[in-house]
Symmetry: C4
Subunit: 275 residues, 4 copies
């Protein structure tokens, strides 16, 4: 095959696999999406004892089927991309590899069921496929809001972590003696997190009166501080949605009206050039 033809084939494959604007590319992405979901479903169902004993060989066949398809896809991706190494070490490249490896390893080492869960990461590919629609833009907005509030959330989580350790230690001292559930500080910290996040399993509960009194405070505290991350993200999203943070206060020289975006060069009301 001459180089020109080979390059054309490469380009064609690249278009189908990596892009989603052409009908072929779109069809490929949808098919892949379905395959991934089906593949994850098989792993999930395999873990159910009843189904595993009955359809053992069926699951085995499916698993290998999916693995072979994904392997071919992986090789094609490596083939058609301009810089294969860069793809191979990229985030999705590693996930693509991890999504097929466990099945092969299970040939040599028995009991690689622990590695099957890595296959769950295949689903992350779904997000890439979401370039299908306008969903990516929305995901982007969320990610942007979260990234903007990253520092605030880190500070908040650090504070919660400190709080949880101190509270856990106090509860260990208060309940430790009478209550099996608070037999060590790590367990007490586990209880504190269960309580502060308002999950409240009830597997460990305070039994002393002082412990219940302190618990009540901890719960109300949790009730109050849940407002903090919510407030952070809300504020970011309000700012993002309205672009207000980026609105300035300059008035148009000609019509005197305000409310122009920071990146505005001309007045949006009269068309006059802004300063």
């Amino acid at each position: 095959m001459p180089v020109a033809q080979r390059n054309k084939l490469k380009e064609k494959i690249h278009e189908v696999i990596f892009e989603a604007d052409t009908p072929m590319g779109k069809a490929f992405d949808v098919a892949l999406l379905i395959l991934i979901i089906a593949s994850v479903l098989v792993v999930v169902l395999e873990s159910v004892h009843n189904l595993q004993t009955r359809y053992s060989s069926f699951f085995y066949a499916l698993e290998w089927g999916f693995t072979i398809v994904f392997t071919i896809e992986y090789i094609l991706r490596l083939y058609c991309v301009y810089r294969p190494m860069k793809y191979a070490v990229s985030f999705f490249g590693i996930i693509d590899l991890l999504a097929i490896l466990p099945t092969y390893i299970s040939l040599f080492i028995y009991g690689t069921q622990y590695l099957l869960v890595i296959r769950g990461l295949r689903l992350l590919r779904v997000f890439r496929i979401f370039k299908l629609g306008h969903f990516l833009a929305e995901a982007d907005t969320i990610v942007k809001a979260l990234r903007a509030s990253r520092a605030k959330i880190t500070v908040f989580l650090t504070f919660v972590l400190l709080l949880v350790i101190v509270i856990g230690s106090v509860m260990y001292l208060v309940e430790g003696g009478q209550n099996e559930g608070f037999s060590s500080i790590p367990r007490a910290i586990y209880w504190t997190i269960v309580t502060l996040t308002t999950v409240g399993y009830g597997d460990i509960t305070p039994v002393t009166e002082l412990g219940q009194f302190l618990s009540a405070f901890i719960m109300i505290l949790g009730y109050a501080i849940i407002a903090v991350p919510t407030g952070i993200v809300s504020a970011e999203m309000v700012a993002d949605m309205k672009g207000i943070a980026r609105n300035n206060t300059q008035a148009c020289r000609y019509c005197g009206r305000e409310g122009h975006a920071d990146d505005a060069v001309y007045c949006k009301y009269c068309g006059e050039r802004l300063n």
Copy 2:
């Protein structure tokens, strides 16, 4: 009866049943509201064993009473509406039919108690009756805010779903062997959802130390990400309430750039008049 008279009657019935501005229409709507609530109450109370055994025939009579009244109402609706078929296949038309069918079917097939629940949908009619007040406008605001954030919420829920599957699988691997509650991935996923949403029944709880450690992370994660849907809806409502001009998607004819405010008359980048 001459056509003119018949039309007048039809119009009168339509006014009473479908509109709520006249005194008669208002009275009808209120009466219907009460009937629906009473009817649902009967279904609910019927399910209580003590009451069922004691007032069996009384409930039976009431049920048929309500069914007959609603049947007459349904027929009148079909009669007075200009295009009966359009009503019959509309959302509320189908609900109106489903709200009377189960009782009739129970004559032929024993044990249609499973279908009685459909009658609960009668209550959705309450929202239509809410045109009584200014509540509809408020409901509209909520629905608008939710619709505007639909894409964002879909992305968020998809992400949560992926997260839940991956976490569930990991917890299955960690706890599976020692803990009856994590005997399969679907059960582990159920536990993950119970935990991440901070419901925390406590019917399944981690018992291994690693499991409890991971759980603590999952809970704090749930605590943090609950901020996302709240932030989304808050931002939408703030935007809606203040009527702040959201950016539209039109591009300038001259410079092709987007991101103009809804009230913009001139392109903010080149000063060209927008459409």
Copy 3:
């Protein structure tokens, strides 16, 4: 005592009891606050079995002491107020009466412990005493925000109620047969509310696979819709805090600047009269 002197005394008492600006009035309010808290504390502690058996007569004496003090206070209020009847039938007048009645009734009817709880309402007086500080203004802001979002919250709660009845009925059908906890629709509705509000006691939990599957959906639903009331209140508070909802768009005729409050008569930037 001449009328003028009597009126002067009345005025003095009124000043002390009803107002909080003078040193005497302030001292009275603080004393009352402490008395109310102590009185509620006694009722609460009385319910603890250990304490009740040991300090029975002590509690009895305290209870009568508080009752007599509050009775004198009630009579003085009636005496010094200009229109006693209006006070007697006002919200706080009724609470003041209900806060002393149960003790007197307990003389004639044994077992009025059920009425003692009414005394808890005495604490509502605390809010009146909060006129001591600037807290009332803040409470006002919260109440205003809640009142403004009353209609939206009513619609939301109605919707949640409908949802809860429908979901409860479905869960009753699914779990009813195998699970004691779902033995009637009211109990299933109770479970649904426990789940949807993310309380999650765990006293009733789904045991069938379909039930657990549906529960997972219900929890994620609850996770998503908790964003609605939060969004409503957040939006109201944002609007209230910044007075933006009440800002109009008129520009000053003289300096052309905008952003004036609805109640502004003069331009806040140049002092020119607005339209």
Copy 4:
């Protein structure tokens, strides 16, 4: 050592210990951060029975190691600071002392395990070390938002406390007789807080029908009022983020009216110039 040299040494130590801008200061802060975390980890692990019995002497050695290092650090801080007494009675000065005292006390009094928890406060030093990055500014934003909403949150928590007492008393009356969990009002209040904050352990649950009915209301109430603190904090953060001019409290000299925006130059009611 001449005074000038001594002062130079003092300054050098001060720079290393108290500042974080020089390489040495930064290195010291990071080392301290690691030491504190390790030290807390030792206290936490010491409480685990298995580890305590096995590594008892190892933990003992580590504990004394950390204590000696922190003691030297404490003395150096006292030495290099200009006004040692001011540091000694400052917030961090007291914490620094409390972080080393328990170990010394344990020499004389056996069983000071109760005081070991004070060492957990050492972690608060982490926040001071956060001057390393831009995190302090973010923490500042959160603290500012919380401080600004302090009064509102106090009012809200007072209201919740009253609510919880009244609801607890009612539930005690309803469930008290049949349910061991509601044997006193304090226990009923504990349950109410567990429920209202949506923690929901399930260690105490209503068993009577009336009790379950009331619980459902309480949960929905908790669901609705959780929106209040969230709304408060969100609003503050939105206001803070966008730097929107909040109304100040100055009154016009001429007409005496308040409520002017921070950027107002003229009274919006009478047109008089503001200060």
